[in-house]
Amino acid sequence: MNQDPDSAPDYRIEIGEIDWELSPGKKLRTAAYNGRIPGPQIRLQAGKPVSIEIANRLDRAEIVHWHGQWISPDVDGSVEEGSPMIPAGASTRIRFTPRPEGLHWYHTHAMAHRSLKEGLYTGQSGLLYVEPRANPGGYDREQFVVLHDWEPYYSASDDGSLMVKYTAASVNGRMLGHDSPFAVRPGQRVLFHILNASATEPHWLTLPGHQFQVLTLDGRPVPTQAKVEALRLGPAERVTALVAMDTPGVWIMGEPRAAFRNAGMGTVIEYAGCSGKPQFTPPTRLAWDYRSFADPNPSTYKPDLTVPLVFTSRFQGHGALDRWMINGKSWPDNAPPLLHEGLRHRLIFDNRSMDDHPVHLHRHAFELVSIRGAAMSGIQKDVVVVEAGTVVEADLVAGNPGNTLFHCHQQDHMDSGFMALFRYA
């Protein structure tokens, strides 16, 4: 990386409004990076410093978060941690040294509040792939897949408060049937790198007749490379999975839930020599358990500190979003315990609400040590879906001093108080 401020940056990101065609009949206007959805893929090498210039052409301040990277709070892309917003019409240049390896992403970290035209409801997201030193698995091809939902609107939810729904969905910026099929040959092994960039929706993904062998979660290798029929990704979660192309045909790789698939969440996988209408058959059951990919042996480490984090909500009316709280208080009134560098903190995510929460910790990864009381080890993540009414325990070894934001990655929850800032002692 050249440190000279007058030299060209390694990457340029321009944030601007674009007209994007999800399909010939579905166009939308949204903010995006470099005029495309998803934004340009950034491939970096671990340990090799990079400079990135970000130009904000919008009429509002913006900020870009480097999700999954263990970098300094001043460039991580969170105002709460201390990164500066990029004023409307202004540019900034950031420098950081990528780590860790694996599949990550970058996205806006601006609050949307009640606006459904800002934050992650827009197209401001892109893949960040930090090349692993070792090949994650023998494969012939790799394919990157970004899921997103579009045209959000507020609707009444079953639990009585407002929720966000969508009219359209896309894979790599296109609705099902409106992108070129992904061409494969029998016998190929394809490595899929999948990101759920939806502002609020968890998604399932299946490829009929095939299985996904999960190699990494949130960019980190898993101890057990289990094969599953369907992947589940909470908002902001990433999965790298290997698929053996051994069932020739023309298939839809998509959301098994018809409402989402019909809205556009799917892409066509076409074997060489095959033609016809893409086929889809839903899996017999939708099941996802992080423990399938874990070391079944409990963690042998004892925590130095325990940090209970209790998630609750407060009803604000049937025509309002719930107010979210961590340990009884909403951001910015809450104050979690201090982190102590070098110590092992056992984070106890105690979800006492009726919603699932994909909680994310900035600038660090944590190791899952129990889910619903069942011990496990070996899975390191930066996002974990804590299902309603359950407790997930995760160990955090505090090794990256500085302000560290913790929040639910559902945009509407984050905007409604579901955030807390960890500080180092």
Partner: protein
């Protein structure tokens, strides 16, 4: 939440009175329709504590208990069809079948993201002459509603037409209804429901002959599959039943097709 008041003519019609309320379904309609492949079954129980006495050929509403079964089937995300069975029970008459109505309804789909909910209901039905001299009636009911924070507002400026009966020459009648409510908690919503019948839109009835009713009412939101509403209505004009106690209990049956998008 929905509210609609079935306007079944019960009064003697020799005076230019507004159509009297049948008190069979006292409910304000919200814009929301029943979800596709889902059936909503409601029982409307209305007791007229102080109503009109019997007149020759026409049953009284006083001390009458009206039970109405409403079955509504969701067709798609913008339409439904409702079917009503009206009954009446009172001393000397026993349980009587009163009539049936059918009510198709369409709405502006939620995904259009309008700032207010909008739907349009039309209702056609028959009622026995013993309970209503106007035996065939038709109604069209625009519905506009809005939920904002803890507040809910709805207005139903309904128009009615008699197809067969003494009021056939009266033309269109105007029967607005409205509701305002407040969410005290997630499960308890309280507010007021207003129902009126101003008579013909070309000859608004005198206040004496208008129907005006105000119901303090509560909604209990105990479960997404249940709908519970209770209210006590006060009718201050001479043409209105003076005291009515109403209750609605409804249950949604999704037949295993519940939206599993969450």
């Amino acid at each position: 939440m929905k509210f609609c008041l079935i306007a079944v003519t019960l009064l003697a019609v020799t005076v230019p009175a507004a159509r009297a309320q049948g008190n069979y379904e006292i409910q304000v309609y919200g814009a929301e329709t029943v979800a596709p492949r889902t059936t909503m079954v409601e029982l409307h129980s209305n007791f007229t504590a102080d109503g009109h006495l019997a007149t020759p050929g026409l049953a009284a509403t006083n001390r009458a208990e009206h039970e109405t079964v409403e079955i509504t089937q969701g067709i798609n995300d913008w339409s439904e069809v409702g079917f009503y069975i009206f009954t009446s029970e009172q001393s000397g008459l026993g349980v009587q079948w009163v009539g049936d109505h059918i009510r198709p309804r369409v709405r502006v789909p939620e995904k259009w993201r309008w700032p207010v909910g909008v739907s349009l209901s039309t209702e056609v039905g028959y009622q026995r002459a013993l309970f209503s001299p106007d035996t065939w009636t038709w109604e069209i009911r625009p519905i506009v509603d809005k939920t904002s924070g803890r507040w809910y507002f709805a207005v139903n400026p309904a128009l009615e037409r008699t197809w067969h009966g003494p009021d056939v020459n009266q033309g269109l009648g105007f029967s607005p209804a409205a509701k305002i409510s407040y969410d005290f908690t997630k499960k308890i919503t309280g507010g007021f429901e207003y129902y009126a019948d101003y008579g013909s839109i070309t000859h608004i009835a005198s206040l004496h002959n208008q129907q005006q009713q105000l119901f303090p009412a509560i909604d209990l939101n105990v479960s997404p599959n249940w709908e519970i509403n209770f209210g006590v209505g006060i009718g201050p004009t001479a043409s209105t039943d003076h005291w009515i106690v109403k209750g609605i209990i409804g249950h949604r049956f999704d037949w295993g097709h519940k939206d599993k998008t969450r």
